[in-house]
């Protein structure tokens, strides 16, 4: 199973082509759902129909009685740890006595056909006693615990400067962000093959092979080396593949049946079977002096973490650390909670806590600008963070922080012209032909955001790479998960650059061949695995240049500088580096129907150095698409713990007719000290402030407060109707 197909050329700074591009356009690239093996059977998972319930009994007999069924497993069949989790193992492999969210796994089946497996899963008789679901995050803080580990995943208070300070002008607001889904295209899928010796080989689409492997082995009660994970083609990730989904179930079924077992989630199951972006409720109070200089930012942020911990704690740390935005803020008081409820578990998604906070702090900056009668861009310029300023955690920003340049270039980009005779398809409502030109209003909104690169707060973050030079051909071995972002291209570019060779081969990533590369998340692979590949290649070059004969092989484990956890006042040097972005959105809004057309998003991005222009553009445009989606349409709709829209029919992501033109005003190349090649990761920043910019533009068009994203048609239309009635 090769993940790459053709040789590519090009060094750093060039738009080298993806090595996996040829197979991907030809349809021959092997995604995890394309895997097959002789004697293979199909897995299926029975999921709980209630958000909170006690399981009185499970009868697997009717399922086992179906012809073609090979195994039916429940909690009693888990030989090792009964629970798993990225940070904290609190999520049961199978719900045992209690169900804590809708769609929680209760049993797994293997059968000779996917339809048989599905029917068998449905034939299992489970006697549930429905319990009242705990669905309000705020209430969860003090509610009766719904899990032995309690309801609070994390509670953090940041006290920075003089927390009693006050400003001449104070603005206050409540903000809410709905539950976004990563909605990658390739559903969770994998193939587990028993090795006949008690171990198992698991081929999976994931973001972090080694941590998956560790969790799986712990649940199987096996030494880690008895579980070997290989990366199968990944159809997008965006955070949703950081947590284990079907990995343990697949391996259990394979070991029980002694056959290869394949499982592919349906789209509904995918929505139920992975974590989402945390819904957030935020209360903010900004203080400024008469000149618009920020005096103090107060925030209270409550994240709904859903039923299990996943990455709720670091997501909360991020939301709080970046709660004030990329501004110089002398005083701050930030309190954050991440809590357990009977809603679906939430965890990593592109932007990781910074997105939610950005929506609130940028709405506040606009509100403050209005209160001061200042231009919103001017207000941001007056407060823009620069190198040497401190975060609200007290940490000094030592690296590049070109916030002012981002704001100036992005806000200075020419506005798109209004089309005098627009195609109705390009108006709000599109194909629905609803627009009435006289009832459309254009609005422009601006937002700036930032977040950390790589893992923070004391986590020993590292990546491992091996480079072998033989016969003029360099082979790179690294377990970094290629999820679409293009690390495969970069790795080859780096090695070509360092070694001056043409031909670079990427070995298939797997746990058996090399140590961890860390997760493909936190915009970290360019820096971390890029750094590991560079150092390994440099070591090879040194030996070659010293006259050593090939083959020459070097392995390098790259660590970023150490960080510390935050102290009891939320102070400390928790982060390594930051990345900033500015977005300006232009929207047309139908005032009466509340339908929105995002016309254009202009952006300036802090990139350190552009290593592959085409890939940077791809990340920027794709990240903005997800930001636009969160602003105007994307939300997992919950009703007392029940997911109402677990399908692509009803969880709407932007189509080509929804996606605006993206104007890249500037890719600011201020090299980041300490970063390999001076380059910063580019995956997340396009998502962080694009939603906030779109929401600001809708506010500008409508004059409405709109304190919640996604902004729904009814939020605009009914509020507009009511406001005009009053007037």
């Amino acid at each position: 199973m090769s993940l790459t197909g053709e040789r590519v050329r090009g060094g750093l700074g060039e738009s080298a082509r993806r090595p996996d591009g040829g197979p991907k356009v030809a349809g021959s690239f092997v995604f995890s759902s394309d895997l097959t093996a002789d004697g293979m059977v199909w897995g299926s998972i029975l999921r709980a129909p209630y958000p909170h319930a006690r399981i009185r009994s499970i009868d697997i007999g009717p399922a086992l009685a179906l012809p073609g069924v090979h195994a039916v497993l429940t909690a009693a069949d888990v030989p090792g740890d009964s629970s798993y989790g990225l940070e904290h193992a609190d999520q049961p492999v199978f719900a045992d006595d209690t169900v804590r969210y809708i769609g929680e796994a209760v049993a797994a089946v293997a059968a000779d056909h996917p339809d048989t497996a599905r029917r068998a899963a449905r034939a299992i008789v489970v006697d549930y006693e429905e319990l009242e679901p705990l669905v309000e995050a705020e209430a969860a803080i003090t509610a009766e615990p719904i899990h032995p580990d309690g309801n609070v995943f994390a509670h953090l208070t940041i006290r920075h400067g003089d927390t009693t300070a006050s400003g001449d002008v104070v603005v206050e607001g409540d903000y809410e962000v709905g539950m976004q889904d990563q909605a990658f295209m390739g559903p969770e899928s994998g193939l587990a093959i028993p090795d006949g010796d008690g171990g198992v080989d698991l081929h999976m689409s994931t973001q972090w092979l080694h941590v998956d492997r560790d969790q799986v082995a712990n649940c199987l009660g096996l030494p880690h080396d008895k579980v070997r994970m290989s990366l199968a083609g990944v159809g997008g990730a965006f955070g949703a593949r950081e947590d284990v989904s079907m990995q343990v179930h697949l391996c259990l079924l394979a070991l029980h049946t002694n056959r290869p077992v394949k499982m592919v989630f349906s789209r509904e199951e995918s929505f139920l079977g992975h974590v989402h972006r945390h819904p957030a409720r935020m209360h903010y109070r900004h203080h400024a002096d008469k000149d618009g200089r920020l005096v103090k930012v107060e925030a209270r942020i409550v994240l709904d973490g859903g039923a299990y911990a996943s990455t709720s704690r670091p997501v909360l740390v991020n939301a709080c650390c970046f709660a004030a935005g990329p501004y110089a803020v002398p005083n701050a008081l930030v309190e954050g909670w991440a809590v357990r409820t009977n809603n679906p578990p939430c965890g990593a998604m592109r932007g990781f806590g910074a997105v939610q906070a950005c929506f609130a702090h940028e709405a506040q900056m606009d509100k403050l600008a209005a209160a001061l009668d200042l231009d919103p861009v001017e207000l941001r310029l007056r407060n823009a963070m620069k190198t040497g300023d401190r975060l609200v955690t007290g940490q000094v920003v030592t690296g590049a922080a070109p916030v002012e340049e981002l704001i100036r270039t992005c806000s200075g980009w020419p506005l798109p012209a209004e089309d005098p005779e627009p195609d109705p398809m390009t108006l709000p409502g599109g194909a629905g032909r609803t627009a009435d030109g006289s009832r459309l209003r254009r609005g422009v909104g601006f937002a700036v955001g930032f977040k950390n690169l790589m893992y923070s707060a004391g986590f020993d973050d590292y990546s491992t790479a091996r480079v072998r030079l033989e016969g003029g051909v360099a082979t790179v071995t690294c377990a970094a998960a290629e999820v679409g972002q293009g690390f495969v291209t970069l790795a080859e570019q780096i090695v070509r650059e360092v070694l001056g060779v043409d031909e670079v081969i990427l070995a298939p990533p797997g746990t058996a061949d090399i140590g961890s590369a860390g997760s493909t998340s936190a915009s970290r692979q360019t820096w971390m695995s890029g750094g590991a590949v560079e150092r390994a290649a440099l070591a090879v070059r040194d030996r070659r240049d010293a006259g050593e004969r090939e083959p020459i092989e070097e392995t390098y484990e790259y660590h970023h500088p150490p960080t510390s956890p935050l102290d009891e006042n939320g102070q400390g040097n928790a982060h390594v580096s930051y990345v900033f972005a500015a977005h300006r959105a232009v929207v047309d809004v139908d005032l009466d129907l509340g339908l929105v057309r995002v016309v254009e998003v202009a952006t300036s991005q802090d990139v350190g150095r552009v290593l592959n222009p085409l890939q940077v553009i791809g990340q920027v445009e794709g990240g903005i698409a997800q930001g636009v989606g969160l602003a105007v349409m994307e939300e997992i709709v919950m009703d007392r713990g029940v997911v109402r829209n677990a399908s692509f029919t009803d969880y709407l992501i932007p189509t080509a007719l929804d996606m605006p033109d993206v104007a890249i005003a500037a890719l600011v190349e201020e090299p980041e000290p300490g970063a390999p090649f001076g380059a910063k990761g580019v995956g997340e920043p396009p998502t962080i402030s694009s939603s906030a910019a779109v929401a600001a533009a809708i506010r500008a068009a409508t004059g409405l407060a709109l304190t919640r994203i996604p902004v729904r048609p009814q939020d605009i239309a009914l509020a507009h109707r009511d406001s005009t009635k009053l007037a």
């Binding site: 990563q182 295209m185 789209r267 293009g486 553009i617 791809g618 445009e621 997800q626 080509a656």
Partner: protein, 170 residues
């Protein structure tokens, strides 16, 4: 399975026999799991993403919404056969590569099929026509910008007019 059906269809120019299929299997499942053609992708299985776009008797459809057995006697073309007898990559596939339209690649085969279908019916689509034509193909990675660029590059190339509107840097 006991309730099985057997039928024959033509896929990418070759006669293929499907034996012992469950009656309810979609054409997508038949292609992927029985005929060894996984190019059409399984992303939603309800016609809402376009990842499984194939041509059945010349018409672009979602293979997940075609009952496999009802395609008996039909001619099916998948991404694996889109280049025809010539083999290699088509101009559309080449443009997807050169314009950076591929990231994770899961939507790519469906989009390749859709762009081919559009340009056969309408060799010089406007940008709005192009967006409408691919509006049934969801992509989560690219934001569609480079996909539009790829399609426009093909239009420019085929019409001999040189550069397209959305040329991406090289």
């Amino acid at each position: 399975m006991t309730d099985s059906v057997t039928f024959q269809l033509t896929v990418n120019g070759a006669d293929r026999v499907v034996e012992g299929a469950w009656l309810g299997e979609s054409l997508l499942y038949v292609l992927r799991e029985r005929l060894g053609l996984p190019g059409a992708k399984n992303a939603c299985e309800q016609g809402e993403c376009g990842s499984c776009s194939v041509r059945v008797d010349g018409t672009l459809v979602c293979a997940c919404l075609v009952l496999g057995a009802s395609a008996a006697g039909s001619e099916v073309v998948t991404v694996e056969g889109v280049a025809g007898d010539a083999g290699g990559l088509t101009d559309v596939q080449q443009a997807f590569l050169s314009q950076g339209a591929v990231q994770c690649g899961f939507c790519t085969p469906g989009l390749v099929m859709t762009v081919h279908d559009l340009l056969e019916r309408n060799p010089t689509p406007t940008e709005v026509e192009l967006r409408e034509a691919i509006s049934g193909n969801l992509c989560r990675c690219t934001g569609y910008g480079r996909i539009l660029a790829a399609a426009q590059a093909v239009v420019a190339e085929r019409s001999g007019s040189g550069r397209s509107q959305r040329e991406t840097p090289s």
